[in-house]
Subunit: 207 residues, 2 copies
DNA sequence: CGCAAAGATGCGGGGCACGCAATTTTCTCG
DNA sequence: CGAGAAAATTGCGTGCCCCGCATCTTTGCG
C-alpha cells in the first residue's frame, strides 16, 4: 500500500486537521484559557485522550497549520528554476504561503472583523507566541537544506544556508507583525517582497 | 527612596537570581522533567508557592537570565557614538553580550565539559526552545526602539527598525546555533561579526 | 515605636500531559 | 471471504503545574 492513500492515513489526517481547526476556532472565539482540551476533542468528535495522541499540547495543535504552511516554502524553493537568482526564488517561494488554501475557501469565516480581532488576541498569548516561533525554527531546517542545495553549500559545515533561512523566515514574521500592528495600509503581498528586497540590499538606512 | 536600593528591592532581586540560577543548574544536571518546582524552590531557600510569584513557569525561570542579557543590547546600542555607522554599532552592541558577567566569574563551573553537554540537552527541550525564542521577540521591541532613535525612523509607523532588530537578533541566534552544532571551529566573537557583515552585505551567495 | 505596604507562605482546586492496558478499527494475506 | 496481525482509539489513574485566596511575616516611613 502506498503511503498516504489508505483509509487509515486519510482518517488520521482528517482527525488531525479537525482537531487543529477546532482548537483554532474555539480559541479565537473564547480565548485560550476558556477552551479546554475536552472542548476541542468534543468539537472534533473524538475522545479527550485521543487529542494527546495527535498533539502534545493545546498550543501545538493551534500552531500545527502554520507549521504545515511554513514547511511548504522549502518545497516551493526547490520547484523554482535553478537559473533564477536566489533572492527572486526566495521571494516567490515565500509568497505562495499567502494564497488561501482550499480548506479556507470551504470554511468561510462568518464575521471577518470579529475573526481578525479574535486572532489578534490569540496571537498575543505568550504561550502561543512561543510555540509559533518554534515552528519557524523547525521549518528553518528544511529551508536551509533547500538553500544549501541551490547554492552548492553544505548544510552541515557552512553557516550560510542556515543564516539565509533564518533571515528569510524572520522577515516573513516581521512582515506579519507589521501587518497586524498597523491597521494594514499595505497587504502582505506587498510587504513581504519589500522586506526581502531590503535584506538583499543589506538593510541600508532609509533615505 | 530611590528604586532599586532598598532592602526590599535587593532581596527581591537576590531571590529572583537565586531561583533562576538554581533552575538552570538543576536542569543542566538532571534534565528538565527530573526537576520539580519544589526542588528549585528548595535550592533557592524559598517556599514552592513563592517560585510562582517570581516566574510563571519553569521555562520562564530558566530563560530569564538570557532575557536580561538580550535587553542590554539595546542599551549598548544607545551608548555607541551617534556618528558610528549603524552596522558597526550593532555589531559592537551585540558583542558585549558575550563577555562573562561577574556572577559567572564568582560561580566557577566545576566540570566545563559535562556542563556543556548538559547545556545542549537542555537547549534541545522543545519547551525551552520556545521560551527562549520568545525572549528574543521581547528584546526585539527594545532594540527596535533604539534603532529607530539612531536612524530617525518611527517605531510606530516604519517597518525598518523592526526589520533590523529582528534580523540582528536572528543573526545572533543563528550564530549561537552554528557554534553549538559544529564542535566550535570558531568562537562567537568571530562568528557573530561574520554573520552581521554578511547581512550588511545583503547575504550574497558565497561564490 | 507603630501603622501601612508589600512580600512570603499554606492550602486547595482546576486542568493538562502521559503511561498503561483494554478495546475497536483497519490492513494483509491465505 | 475470513482470521489474525497491526494500528488507532479510548478509559483510567497519576503526578505535576499554575494560580487564586486568605494569612502571616517582614520592610518602609513618619
Amino acid at each position: 500500500m502506498l503511503v498516504g492513500v489508505g483509509l487509515r492515513e486519510s482518517k488520521k489526517a482528517a482527525t488531525r486537521t479537525a482537531l487543529s481547526w477546532a482548537a483554532i476556532q474555539l480559541t479565537v472565539e473564547r480565548g485560550l484559557d476558556n477552551v479546554k482540551v475536552e472542548d476541542i476533542a468534543a468539537a472534533a468528535g473524538v475522545s479527550p485522550r485521543t487529542f494527546n495522541n495527535y498533539f502534545g499540547s493545546k498550543a501545538e495543535a493551534i500552531v500545527s497549520r502554520q507549521l504545515d504552511r511554513l514547511r511548504h516554502i522549502a518545497d516551493e524553493l526547490r520547484r523554482r528554476p535553478p537559473e533564477e537568482p536566489l533572492w527572486t526564488a526566495l521571494t516567490q517561494a515565500t509568497l505562495t504561503q499567502y494564497q488561501p488554501g482550499p480548506e479556507v475557501v470551504a470554511n468561510p469565516i462568518p464575521d471577518p472583523v470579529q475573526w481578525a480581532a479574535g486572532l489578534r488576541v490569540m496571537l498575543a498569548e505568550p504561550a502561543l507566541q512561543a510555540e509559533l516561533l518554534r515552528t519557524t525554527v523547525i521549518a528553518e531546517e528544511d529551508l536551509a537544506a533547500a538553500v544549501a542545495a541551490r547554492t552548492g553549500t553544505s548544510i552541515e559545515n557552512d553557516f550560510y544556508p542556515h543564516l539565509v533561512a533564518a533571515t528569510v523566515l524572520t522577515a516573513t514574521r516581521a512582515a506579519t507583525t507589521h501587518y497586524l500592528r498597523t491597521e494594514s495600509g499595505s497587504e502582505m503581498e506587498q510587504l513581504l517582497p519589500e522586506a526581502l528586497a531590503r535584506i538583499a540590499a543589506g538593510l541600508p538606512e532609509p533615505h
